[in-house]
């Protein structure tokens, strides 16, 4: 079975985001970018499935600016076999919307014919939590979201999902789209020898036009604001004082 893993280049989680002076969005100039952490988890899961003999090829895809090739190289260094880069914009502030991404992914699925698509549950930049679901609808495939355990047997996948207040286990029919959650696995390091080898792995460069998809944005961002700054803390000398302060603040 072939597995397709979409990976997104997003603002690094260590960076404190800053809204642009005109409020149109987050300032990405000079900012460190990395692979969406949930996508590292889906790449890792694909590799584990391959190591277990259930998958024979892992294809990773990224849609966005040309620099997303670094993100794909990381995925290749972790253990993916082949990459497809879809250069959809040259403006690093232009975030391609989930529907356009899902449409491109659908076209790639039609071409590549994977038996499984593993996506992150959400991208930590815009938190849309939509791409995987939209893709499943476009394909007419089953879906299993927020996976924290995945077991594939024949034409069925058993997936444990993190839901409010507990775990739910569901069974879906393959082919399927699975979106992964934080606790599914611990992604491996991209080791130096593997990074060197990844330079030689195949990376095809495409455009949305190759797939007949219009990536024009449909959503309008009205305003972006930073959360209010936290007031300075105080030091308390004793537990009693802490309790008193908490009572004062109406917290207990």
């Amino acid at each position: 079975m072939k597995v397709l893993v979409p990976v997104k280049r997003v603002i690094d989680y260590n960076v404190k985001v800053r809204v642009k002076a005109d409020g149109s969005g987050v300032d990405l100039a000079n900012v460190k970018m990395s692979m969406n952490p949930f996508d590292e988890i889906s790449v890792e899961q694909a590799i584990r499935l391959k190591e277990a003999g259930q998958v024979d090829e892992i294809v990773v895809v990224s849609i966005g600016v040309k620099q997303a090739q670094e993100t794909l190289r990381t995925a290749l260094a972790m253990g993916a076999d082949r990459a497809i880069l879809v250069v959809a914009t040259d403006d690093l502030h232009n975030d391609i919307e989930p529907l356009a991404v899902a449409k491109i992914l659908k076209a790639i699925v039609d071409e590549e014919k994977p038996g499984l698509v593993l996506t992150g549950k959400q991208a930590i930049d815009n938190d849309m939590n939509a791409t995987g679901q939209m893709l499943s609808a476009l394909l007419g495939w089953s879906q299993a979201t927020f996976a924290s355990e995945v077991e594939i047997a024949g034409d069925k996948a058993k997936v444990s999902r993190e839901v409010d207040g507990g775990m739910q286990t569901i069974e879906v029919t393959m082919p399927t789209v699975i979106t992964v959650d934080l606790r599914l696995n611990e992604p491996r390091y991209a080791s130096l020898p593997n990074i060197m080898k990844a330079k030689k792995k195949q990376m095809d460069e495409k455009t949305p036009a190759n797939y007949g998809v219009d990536v024009t944005n449909r959503l309008e961002i009205v305003k972006t604001v930073e959360p209010a700054e936290r007031a300075a803390g105080i030091k308390v000398a004793s537990v009693d004082e802490l309790v008193a302060k908490l009572k004062e603040a109406g917290a207990v």
Partner: protein, 549 residues
């Protein structure tokens, strides 16, 4: 423990550190010989992530390395238009006009740049020429040949448990071998320190001297922003407690770099460099500028200040030290980037010639000769007496005398020969009881910030599940000696708040190392009174994620 076996890769030249020095060397090697196999290893998560400089760049280095840097889109675009120098008093300021300053202090023809961005651009140029650059890879060890020469390095080891054992995710990394290894680790390089000590390279030279540079990027009110303006100050708030001063550079996009340097030879262990910086911003001149603005990023890095007389021998069998791993900052001009680039170029030329002649693993003495006698040596020799004068006579007097010496030196003669620095910065620290405790005002959260809040704006992080990269030669020394005798200075000199002394009633004091906060400035390795702290590399990719520093 499991035996570590590593894959090996052979290169012509292995370069540690993607700073201006390392990248210049890589570029020059490829310019001379497109087939030369060159690799650059960088511990930052990306090139530029660990680069912190002022920076006013003297383009003389770039001019010789990449003469058409303008056409190639170098991010070197903001020419210095205005150059001010102030002696600050508490309330007012005295402006020293430009003309009495010696000519080499003038910034005419220089550019305000982010060296982080310049390095990112240099890395693109190098990759375009076929250099292999691997960011996110710490170089943790040197590899020696049987004859004792350096033959390579170990890079990219990941996944050790806090006790040093191997976790399930352990990756041993690789051995990269080269005919020559270049250490372009910048100031106080961890491997450079090992090489200097193993081959006794400091013998016959003055000890290296350092400053601690702290820097913030601010986005300010466009009405107050003057692109191309450079301001330096000395005086308040440091006064007699320590040498140092500030820089304020107006770059593009309404941003300004606000930086503060404290010379690390200060005697009073109560001094708190970070708080001096924060206090400085409340000077009316600075406060007016920053009022209504926003601090965008923070970071810190040591700066080498020993100059000409402190440069150690810079070659040993198989290895050469580049840039600030030697210490090539021209102190009165606070500029080292041009010399870093020139040193990388010189090392590359020496290695190229040696490899052509069939040599390898020996001393590139041609490189050292070029540094001492060529453009770098000339630049540094002229100003070699400024720093010792600062240390000896204090600021105002030395500005006059040092200024005079620089004037005369410009014409090729010095009135004073070469002055000595004396002690190391660690040994300069005096006993706490002999000095007054300094009270610092509480940060207001608008112009000044507490240390931990600011550290969050360096975007630093370290995987928690690994051995602390800040190691103690003697674990008892901080509590047994440094706390009672020096008042625990580590709690203050670290600009990232990594060190804490926890004193609880009824319990023995404890020394805590919050290594996750480290911004890789190297101050602890320099200033710890007993030189008991050794900075080693954490996992690659850890540490700050500086934007356009």
């Amino acid at each position: 423990m499991k035996q570590v076996s590593r894959e090996t890769m052979e290169y012509d030249v292995v370069i540690v550190g993607a700073g201006p020095a390392g990248l210049a060397a890589a570029i020059r090697l490829k310019q001379l010989d497109a087939d030369c196999q060159v690799v650059v290893l960088e511990k930052g998560s990306e090139v530029g992530a660990h680069i912190l400089s002022g920076a006013v760049l003297d383009p003389c280095g770039l001019d010789t390395l990449i003469p058409d840097w303008k056409d190639k889109g170098a991010p070197v675009t903001v020419a210095v238009k205005e150059d001010n120098f102030y002696m600050l008093g508490e309330a007012g300021q005295v402006r020293i006009p430009n003309f009495p300053m010696p000519p080499l202090m003038s910034n005419h023809g220089n550019y305000i740049v982010s060296m982080g961005n310049v390095c990112r651009w240099m890395a693109e140029q190098a990759e375009g020429l076929g250099v292999d650059i691997f960011p996110g890879m710490s170089v943790s060890e040197l590899v020696y040949a049987e004859d004792g020469s350096v033959k390579g390095v170990v890079a990219g080891e990941f996944g050790k448990n806090p006790d040093g054992s191997q976790s399930e995710a352990y990756e041993p990394g690789m051995e990269l071998h080269g005919k020559y290894v270049f250490l372009g680790e910048g100031v106080r390089g961890s491997l450079a320190q090992q090489v200097i000590s193993k081959f006794d390279l400091s013998k016959g030279h003055e000890p290296q001297k350092y400053g601690l540079g702290m820097k913030e990027i601010w986005e300010i009110d466009p009405a107050k922003h003057v692109e191309g303006r450079v301001t330096h100050t000395m005086g308040w708030p440091l006064g007699k407690n320590a040498g140092g001063g500030s820089f304020i550079y107006h770059l593009e996009n309404n941003q300004v770099y606000v930086g503060f340097v404290v010379h690390l030879n200060y005697k009073n262990p109560h001094l708190f460099p970070y708080m001096e910086f924060q206090r400085f911003k409340h000077h009316p001149m600075v406060a007016d500028l920053l009022e209504g603005g926003k601090r965008v990023a923070y970071g810190a890095r040591a700066i080498s200040e020993g100059g000409y007389q402190s440069m150690p021998k810079m070659v040993a069998p198989g290895v050469a030290l580049l840039g600030c791993s030697v210490g090539m900052v021209n102190v009165p001009r606070i500029k080292g980037n041009h010399n870093a680039i020139l040193s990388g170029k010189a090392a590359a030329e020496a290695a190229f010639a040696a490899i052509q002649a069939g040599r390898s693993g020996d001393e590139l003495s041609e490189y050292e000769a070029e540094v001492r006698n060529g453009a770098i040596g000339k630049d540094l020799k002229t100003v070699r007496n400024v720093k010792p004068l600062w240390s000896k006579y204090g600021l105002v007097a030395s500005l006059v005398v040092g200024g005079l010496d620089m004037w005369t030196n410009t014409f090729g003669v010095s009135l004073m020969g070469t002055l000595k620095h004396g002690k190391t910065d660690a040994a300069a620290t005096e006993i706490a009881d002999r000095h007054k405790v300094i009270e610092y005002p509480k940060p207001d959260g608008k112009l000044s910030f507490d240390r931990l809040t600011n550290v969050a704006f360096s975007f630093t992080n370290h995987e928690e599940n690994q051995p602390a990269h800040l190691t103690l030669k003697d674990v008892s020394e901080p509590v047994k000696i440094n706390l009672p005798k020096f008042g625990g200075p580590a709690a203050r000199y670290c600009p990232a708040g990594v060190y804490e002394f926890v004193e609880e009633e009824g319990k023995a004091p404890r020394f805590i190392i919050n290594f996750q906060n480290c911004v890789h400035c190297k101050t602890c390795d320099i200033k710890d009174p007993g030189q008991n702290i050794v900075w080693t590399t954490p996992q690659g990719g850890d540490g700050p994620n500086y934007p356009n520093m």
